[in-house]
């Protein structure tokens, strides 16, 4: 008789063939293996799955119409697929309703330790059951467990057959090489991916479709703003550089431009830029050009004029809970020192970060300055103003940052200020991130 076993992230078929090219198959194709065996009418014993009995999962959450639609669409696709909803639209509720529907052991995978705690608390309070957690020193495996991507990848070999459903929060992280191990090393036949922003990279999308399932439901910010999310305005403010900054910017940028012209190079895509950066490793002139470009961008992104504008903005909006975003930590600390505003970066300890967020939540603090740590995931309710002092050209980053201020509150009209140094390369970056 054919036996199907789980072995360290793979499914092993012993005593027969399933025509999948090998007798050792990546664990994520487990259901396909069973399907093939059934189709062939083969007699087999399935010893692969060891998922524990799951307690009854029922919550009192009342889903909004679009959340119900998302769960329906996912169920119609065989309980596999990706749901794309803006930040603040309640992706967690979609996961909870999907779990209620399946009543199966579930692993929720999230990118950060902060999110492990957030999800664990939410699921415990929703289902009134103890929820396990994995990562950051915690090793508590239960029928419903929340794990970081790192820990789930490391434990694929031993935990890969313990869950029937995997929920991937911020699923756009999944195609990264180390994270793929979670998708390929777990047998879970049911998979739900959640994100606010999917990659535009087609290769990554095809990858996601294979590992999790296709996009089954999608709603953009504009579709939910006003009714389910706060109404919002984006104001892009062009700020001229100070004369001395302008002179230095032109000097540095012309070194970069001159290099491109001399070499007949054109930077038309991220790939072109990557090639230029790679060439700077072996070509001293390219290295000088790269450093000059960085210096120019540093001036544009972190200009003194922006800081002055920020000061006026804060003064004229004293009551608005505000998150200030920058691209680099250096600027975070400059603003924190100058305006005595609490900062959160990757160097902020967990306890201090929680204290800052908690004080922001209860209104003790009304401003936070951060680089990219709060771009996604972290639950920061009720901010009504965001100021992007600097960022990248990524539309995902822009949407995530906008999402930080969109949680619905009666009478709230969110506003996002984007400060851009006029007539610099930053203006192109600003257009790119807004998809203009």
């Amino acid at each position: 008789m054919i036996t199907v076993r789980f072995d360290g992230g793979s499914v092993v078929v012993e005593g027969g063939e399933v025509f999948l090219g090998s007798s050792v198959i990546p664990a994520y194709r487990y259901s396909e293996v069973l399907e093939r065996l059934r189709e062939a009418g083969a007699e087999f014993r399935d010893e692969a799955s060891e998922s524990p009995l799951c307690p009854h999962l029922e919550s009192s959450y009342e889903p909004r119409d679009y959340q119900s639609e998302a769960v329906e669409a996912w169920a119609r696709a065989g309980c596999r697929g990706v749901v794309v909803l803006p930040t603040g639209a309640g992706k967690t509720v979609v996961a909870i309703k999907a779990m209620e529907r399946l009543q199966a052991s579930t692993l929720v995978v999230v990118p950060t330790l902060v999110l492990v705690e957030q999800w664990r608390e939410t699921l415990q309070s929703a289902f009134k059951i103890p929820v396990g957690s994995l990562g950051g020193g915690s090793e508590d495996i239960r029928p419903v467990t929340v794990s970081t991507y790192d820990s789930a990848a490391l434990r694929a070999g031993s935990l890969g057959n313990r869950f029937k459903l995997i929920v991937f929060d911020e699923v756009h992280h999944l195609p990264a090489q180390t994270n793929r191990r979670i998708a390929t090393g777990y047998t879970a036949p049911y998979r739900l991916g959640l994100t606010a922003t999917l990659s535009e990279d087609e290769e990554a999308l095809v990858d996601l479709a294979d590992l999790v399932g296709a996009v089954v439901y999608e709603k953009a910010v504009e579709e939910l703003a006003g009714r389910h999310l706060s109404g919002y305005t984006v104001r892009t403010v062009q700020i001229p550089l100070a004369p001395e900054e302008r002179a230095e910017y032109e000097r540095q940028y012309s070194i970069y431009r001159g290099f491109l012209q001399r070499r007949g190079l054109r930077i038309r895509s991220p790939r072109d830029y990557l090639r230029f950066v790679q060439s700077s490793g072996v070509d001293p002139e390219a290295r000088r050009a790269l450093l000059a470009r960085n210096a120019a961008m540093d001036l544009a992104l972190n200009s003194g004029a922006k800081i002055q504008y920020l000061s006026r903005l804060l003064e004229s909006n004293p009551a608005s809970k505000t998150i200030i975003f920058t691209r680099h930590n250096k600027l975070v600390y400059r603003i924190s020192r100058e305006f005595l505003i609490p900062s959160i970066t990757h160097q902020t300890g967990r306890e201090e970060r929680e204290e800052i967020l908690s004080k922001f939540r209860d209104g003790t603090y009304r401003r936070i300055v951060t680089s990219q740590v709060l771009d996604e995931g972290v639950d920061v309710p009720d901010a009504s103003m965001a100021v992007i002092l600097s960022g990248t050209g990524s539309s995902r980053e822009f949407i995530q940052r906008l999402g930080r201020i969109l949680r619905k509150r009666e009478g709230k009209e969110a506003v996002l200020f984007e400060l851009v140094s006029q007539d610099t390369a930053e203006t192109r970056m600003s257009r790119r991130r807004k998809g203009a």
């Binding site: 950060t112 330790l113 902060v114 990562g135 950051g136 020193g137 090793e139 970081t148 790192d150 820990s151 490391l154 434990r155 070999g157 031993s158 180390t178 490793g281 001293p284 290295r287 450093l291 000061s311 804060l314 003064e315 909006n317 004293p318 600390y333 924190s336 020192r337 100058e338 305006f339 005595l340 505003i341 609490p342 990757h346 160097q347 300890g349 967990r350 306890e351 201090e352 204290e355 800052i356 003790t364 603090y365 009304r366 740590v373």
Partner: protein, 388 residues
Amino acid sequence: MLPVELVRARRRKDSLTALFADKEKLGLSKTVIAVHRESVEKSRAELSDALSRCEELGYDYRLVRGLSAVLEPRCIFQSRSVAPPPEVRTALFTEAAALPVVKPHDRIRIVSEVAAHLGVGPGDVEESMYADLEEEARLTDFRPPTPEEHLRLYNYALTVTVLSHSVRMDIRYQGRDDRIEKIAGGLGKATVKAGKTTIIDVTLRPLRQLSLRAARVDSLLARLLGTVDWEIAADVAYPPRYREPRRFELSRRIHGGILEADAVEKEEVVIEITPRQKKSSLGDPVVLEESAERLGLTVSEIKARIAAERTRYLDLGGVMMSRGKLGELKEALKGALDDRLKTYQGILKAHGCRNPVPVLYALGYDVEWAQRSGDSRVFRLGGRKATD
């Protein structure tokens, strides 16, 4: 080892040549050493800026940074603050929160008030505010090598980094050395042919954690350098994006004089098994929850006691330890000869950790637990993103 992005190597046909630093680089070595010497009492950020200026001299930035990277174990960085930085920040932010925006005159007043409240000067408040940031740490001690030694250390680190990307190694040396055989066995499947010349053929396990692999390669190479007529021929998959391995060859005859393992690191591990600093009453490191339970206190009370200590502790998320201890443990763990949890627990216990597993987690490691405790393995997690 060097950070991978600083490796200088040339691929030609089927071979890979590491671009070692030769005597022509002695001038640059002297400059880099001088920059470090002159940066004593300055912050890490200032040291980094000074090194960037060396790059402007026209040298390959990978060489400049690589030469600097091998000096890191010879530097002691310490953060200096009169008051605990998180306490200073909380006081400043709370005081400032009442204002719509803090203008320069408001700032002077708030800093003075907080200083008075903490019983320190306004300058101390400014200095302490972000003193716990990595880039604010001050270089307090630097043990310079000679420029010749510096270049040999660089070449050695470059070799370790390149060899760490091997898929196969052929090692030869005169006589027998059980230690080399044992370390080679830790890298993968090793076949040993003993004779006048020992030949070890190692097929390395797939690369999972570069730092762990590099620690083993480092031990192997350091030991091998002490043997007679050694040779290594390795099939190296570097850069990792090129799947086809290339041949990298080293021998005592050609490379013997240009490579040197840094004895400083090894010396430090031995010395610091007996901690130099007087231990605090709570110990160092302190696993907060474990200590609270053991002493019948709350975590906040434990933290308050730590804050009252003369030594400043870093908060690594549930584990507090002094910067000195952090460096000591990081160095000690680099010497682990295999990835078994027991090995790591042994090292940490030898360095005074009562409860090693939370400390491992705090240091950025993760444990792959196995049913038999002897089979549990330790992994190094990449970067700091896991806590973001």
